[in-house]
């Protein structure tokens, strides 16, 4: 199954014809299952991803992002980074795909607009972690609960997060993470960062939030383009900034950008 998905993925990255998109994508349930790993737990690198298949497609695409599961073959960019600052290198690349150590240790604790425990209670199940980052609550949720929580955040009287300022993704080397920066037109000082973490680097799939915020359309396309994340249910998932025949996803940390 995974093998098949894998080939699909690379076919899709070069294929931009809109109408063929939805049918080619595997059912949502399978993909979300990968991302359902509990927070902090090692990334499911035990997922049966045959090395052979990856290498085969790597040769085909030429610039496939280095997988986190092959730490023995570091690519050149991280090596450069390491030379420049050995001290920071360790934290920049969390080992084994674990979430980086609790962040914000040195950061000033600005109070957020809502008590984090209460926020967790209000959002219900599916919340993996809640943090305070410079006064902004950062909520990490499970992929399969994303749509429910997003809708709640948009519609609930307490939140009214009807303004998706932007949506982006972060490559934590062993896994990917999508980040939704929320704001409210009604309470403009309220910010909230919604995250779906621990996405499989080889086949990252997240439900698209375009049905909740239409503003997500282009940012999701951008994240698909530059990070290679598949947004299930996106009406028009094509490359946005790069040419249609571009190979690879440049914002991945392991992207080999030397031509």
């Amino acid at each position: 199954m995974d093998d098949e998905q894998h080939t699909n993925e690379h076919d899709e990255s070069s294929d931009t014809k809109r109408e063929e998109k939805p049918s080619e994508r595997p059912p949502a349930g399978e993909a979300v299952g990968d991302a359902q790993a509990p927070a902090g737990a090692p990334h499911p690198e035990s997922a049966p991803t045959p090395e052979a298949a990856r290498e085969a497609s790597q040769q085909r695409s030429g610039r496939l992002p280095e997988s986190s599961t092959s730490p023995t073959t570091p690519t050149s960019p991280p090596a450069k980074e390491g030379e420049k600052q050995p001290a920071a290198a360790g934290s920049a690349r969390p080992a084994g795909g674990a979430r980086p150590a609790p962040r914000g240790a040195a950061a000033p604790q600005v109070p957020t607009w809502i008590d984090l425990e209460e926020l967790k209670r209000l959002l219900g199940e599916g919340v993996e972690a809640v943090e305070n980052q410079w006064g902004t609550p950062v909520v990490t949720v499970q992929a399969d609960q994303l749509l429910r929580i997003a809708e709640k955040l948009r519609d609930d009287e307490r939140f009214r997060f009807d303004f998706l300022t932007t949506m982006t993704a972060v490559d934590w080397r062993s896994y990917l993470e999508t980040v939704y920066l929320l704001q409210s037109y009604e309470y403009p000082t309220h910010h909230l960062t919604l995250k779906v973490s621990h996405l499989d680097s080889d086949n990252p799939r997240v439900p698209s939030v375009t049905g909740i915020w239409e503003a997500a359309g282009w940012p999701e396309r951008e994240a698909y383009d530059l990070m290679g994340i598949y947004f299930e249910g996106h009406p028009d998932l094509r490359r946005l900034l790069l040419p249609e025949d571009w190979e690879g996803h440049p914002l991945r940390k392991a992207y080999d950008y030397i031509d």
Partner: protein
Amino acid sequence: MALRTEELTFSLGPQHPSTHGVFRAMVTIDGERVVHVDPVIGYLHRGTEKIAEWKTYPQIIPYTDRMDYLSAMLNNYCHVGAVEKLLGLEIPEHAEYIRIIVMELNRIASHLVWWGTFLLDLGAMSPFLYAFKDRQVILDLLEEISGARLTYSYMRIGGVKRDATQEWLRRVDDFMDEMVKNIQGYNNLVTGNEIFQSRVKNVGVYDEAFAKRWGLSGACLRCTGNSYDVRKSDPYSLYPKFDFEIPTRTSGDVWARYIIRIEEMLQSIRIVKQAIRNLPDGPFMGKAPRNIRPPKGEVYFHIESPRGDMGCYIVSDGSDHPYRWHWRAPEFANLAAFPAITEGVNIADMIAILGAIDIVLGGVDR
């Protein structure tokens, strides 16, 4: 009477007089009516977000200049402000006042370019040159203080690059008086014109719910009656100390966006004049560490750019360069709604709507 006619698909841009750079749209038309628009962007994509991951925090400043090149000061501030928020730096009031002066000057310059090019889109040649004449004065002033006409790189983490002289402040003040008169002249030349009004009124209308769904900001949002402006709604810098208003309209058409931007220029002039009058003494550079290594964590800092809500999202891993650096360009979000606004309009209206969004492709593509 609905006649059956053949649809025609053509490529508007990237080399087209009204796409302000390298925007391209695949437009399907039926006669003069736009059936479908598919924007194609990325011609100016330079991978700024990727580059930023390899640069130290101060090194990123010049790259922000080159994104939305019409509001480089504000881009500088957005990045610098985000880093300062990460570091928890205190900025001297004097520096913050000078920042506000240059940012508002830059906002006026940006709106002037918009005004000129928008009218060029509508087929009026002369306003473009009027606008650029006034903009040139502002660019000269900004060049004098920063050393560059467009790519200022004037902000520093902790302050600004150079202090403003009294003479410079006096000239800015004088020009602001002149600018008020010039804007009156613009209104006489264009705003009351019958043909102009017939081109912009009731064109590209959408309501507040639409604007919210698409995450619009700036004049594109305020034309629907919402008064969301980061300077007032989620204040940053020293804006709460200033007395200014956020112009809004409720008609939601191109005309509303036009009037709002004209009025915003006047409000910016007010801010600049207040800042010059109340400028406190003090250093122009705060106590910033020489080696900038923010603590681990992530921060989102947003400001009001001439085009809307501009934000910078930084994920720091504790090193001297960001682990991930993402830019929220307001024109990117505003442009995303373009196909939805233009469906079914006239070709000429489509151009007017595109012009009223106020896109800068350097910002859209990043």
